[in-house]
């Protein structure tokens, strides 16, 4: 339920191919000097080091972790520890659960957001501006507010420890609606819709044959952002999935940290496993995700 994503403004180009012509890059005419590279290198190390060190710590045993200086390089125990963490925290089940939850949420959000975003971007109807204001306003409501009644609802429906309790509240994304609206305003020419209309296409046909194809790049970016967000969601799954069974990865990993003599390297192995899938996604689609976030950023 992280709400820290930003409302987007019109894309200049389709995401996935975000590469603006160098000359048009405002402020980008100055070449970076050595100090700039030094600062960037430091920040890059700072960003990546804790992740790398998670793997290093997971590969060492606890005696080694309780020594000075701390280990800076890999030991030999990484795969053993990963295996133990995998079975101890029941991560296999957790992975299936989380993939299912994040997948269903991401796909639903993308489809609903595209359809609603299209209506807000291209159709005229009464109350449109007021409704759009409500959509933007909902981005301001903190998730803590909804946690208590949702918990009561879940208790009443007897959904504790069931995945639908996690999925249903995560299907609303005001951000998604806004994101798709901003994209479609620019990416979808009015003439295309009008032409289809003249040919007698119904609204649903317009959506299926024109809007979805035109929105595909933005849908992919939104889908990835929402997948990352749902995968990493902590507060709500932590509250509803505690008793027994059906943990998400985050809940399972957090559970490893409890106990008075926690096995540190085991915790690190769990943390690594919980993050690894998303890091792989990032390594592959990082450029597109960066483009999507930048495209979604506020301009002017």
């Amino acid at each position: 339920m992280t709400t820290t994503l930003t409302p987007p403004t019109p894309p200049e180009q389709k995401p996935g191919r975000v590469r603006r012509p160098k000359a048009a890059r405002a402020g980008g005419t100055l070449h970076a000097g050595p100090i700039a590279y030094l600062i960037l290198a430091l920040f890059t190390i700072g960003s990546l080091f804790p992740l790398v060190w998670t793997a290093i710590a997971a590969s060492r045993d606890n005696q080694r972790l309780a020594q000075n200086p701390p280990p800076f390089w890999f030991g030999s125990g990484l795969f053993d520890k990963l295996e133990i963490a995998w079975t101890d925290a029941n991560l296999g089940e957790a992975f299936i659960n989380t993939t299912f939850v994040a997948g269903v949420s991401a796909i639903t959000i993308v489809i609903l957001s595209t359809i609603a975003g299209f209506a807000f971007a291209k159709l005229r109807f009464k109350g449109r501006n007021a409704m759009m204001l409500i959509v933007i306003g909902t981005m301001m409501v903190p998730p803590q507010l909804s946690v208590i009644p949702l918990y009561m609802m879940v208790a009443k429906l007897d959904w504790s420890d069931q995945l639908q309790a996690v999925i249903l509240p995560s299907l609303v994304s005001a951000f998604g609606v806004f994101f798709m609206r901003q994209y479609l305003i620019q990416a979808l020419p009015d003439e295309l819709i009008e032409a289809a209309r003249v040919d007698g296409a119904s609204s649903w046909r317009v959506i299926w044959h024109i809007v979805f194809p035109a929105a595909r790049p933005a849908m992919a970016v939104l889908g990835m952002l929402m997948f990352v967000q749902t995968w990493n969601d902590f507060l709500w799954p932590f509250l509803v999935l505690t008793q027994n069974g059906n943990p998400t990865v985050q809940v399972a990993v957090a559970g490893l940290g409890r106990g008075y003599t926690p096995d540190q390297s085991l915790i690190m192995a769990g943390a690594l496993l919980g993050t690894l899938p998303l890091l792989v996604v990032f390594a592959i689609f990082g450029k597109q995700i960066v483009g999507g976030i930048m495209q979604g950023a506020v301009k002017g």
Partner: protein, 336 residues
């Protein structure tokens, strides 16, 4: 898409429109079919927008608006976690109870200080990073992806790693500090140190993300502004202060609001920073945030009504912050 097209696209199929040519037969099957299609078409144009936006609003009603109001309602009742459906009216007593509780004020203060020491450095660093990333760079995509990697890391994983890095006896951070002659710091138990440590997790996760947002806004600033500033003799710093910063004002304001909301809801990081103390946020509640306090009241002490009152108090505080932000931004706009 304008409504003018309804008539342009629909054939002139009004009943009787073509009828005089064939008086005895009335409108032909074909014409009736067209009339029907046209009516359906108009209905479609008129109502389908509502159909398209309704899933969002239905879900929002169920999982956004209803909870908001219900939490307000529950905050006026005594409700226990064990029997969440049994509610008895207590008026504002939940609110007076939490306002009388020292731990509430402690949590509010911690939320504020952690919020400041996580948000301010984070946004300043993000701004500096964005400025550098806006230069012509080799491998610029690599830096952007690398800086965003923490965003892909979950709260749980990040918190647990930082617990180890901030370890008192064998943590890497204290080990590094020893080199510059600083003695071991008890990052979990010392008040300021623990708050700084929790903030570090937040800063680590969000700086790159905010840098990208600033970078996007910087790239939208027209180049001529810099050129004319350069012609007027402005150096790089002056260009940054007189061109870049003013152009970024709406973006800065936005990131401040979003970070403020994020900071006010801080939960996972302090919860896991001392997993054994859990909801109390450290042995002396030294880093218990309002989010943790809410969790402690509702799920540890099982007073859901009181937890609701905390939730609504947080909401009201956010509204006040929102209004203050709005007023400041209007002032700034008026003054420029």
């Amino acid at each position: 898409m304008t409504t003018g097209h309804e008539t342009a696209a629909a054939p002139p199929a009004k009943e009787g429109g073509a009828a005089p040519a064939r008086p005895p037969a009335g409108p032909s099957d074909d014409e009736r079919r067209r009339a029907r299609l046209s009516r359906r078409w108009q209905r479609d144009v008129r109502w389908s927008p509502y159909a398209f936006v309704s899933p969002f609003f239905l879900l929002f009603l169920a999982f956004g608006l209803f909870p908001l109001i219900y939490t307000g309602w529950a905050s006026l009742h005594a409700v226990e976690l064990t029997a969440p459906t049994d509610m008895s009216w207590v008026g504002l007593r939940n609110y007076t109870r939490i306002f009388d509780d020292d731990f509430f004020w402690n949590a509010a203060k911690n939320t504020l200080t952690i919020g400041i020491i996580s948000t301010v450095p984070q946004l300043l660093m993000a701004m500096g990073l964005a400025h550098i990333l806006n230069y012509k760079l080799r491998a610029s995509t690599f830096y952007r992806v690398a800086m965003l990697a923490p965003y892909a890391t979950s709260i749980a994983a990040a918190s647990l790693v930082f617990v180890l890095l901030f370890g008192r006896d064998y943590g890497m951070i204290n080990w590094a500090l020893n080199f510059v002659g600083i003695d071991n710091i008890d990052w979990q138990n010392d008040k300021w140190a623990s708050q700084i440590a929790v903030s570090t997790i937040v800063i680590w996760r969000w700086t790159g993300y905010n840098a990208l947002i600033y970078l996007a806004a910087m790239q939208a600033i027209p180049q001529d502004l810099y050129e004319s500033a350069a012609l007027d003799g402005a150096n790089r710093w002056q260009q940054f202060f007189h061109v870049t910063l003013p152009s970024l004002r709406p973006t800065i304001l936005f990131t401040v609001v979003v970070s403020t909301i994020g900071a006010s809801q801080l939960f996972g990081e302090p919860l896991l920073f001392d997993a054994n103390k859990g909801a109390s946020g450290g042995a002396q509640h030294q880093f218990q945030t309002l989010g943790l306090y809410l969790y402690e009241q509702g799920w540890v002490n099982q007073h859901l009504g009181r937890a609701s009152a905390i939730a609504w108090t947080m909401f009201l505080i956010l509204i006040v912050i929102g209004i203050v932000n709005y007023v400041i931004s209007r002032r700034l706009r008026a003054s420029s």
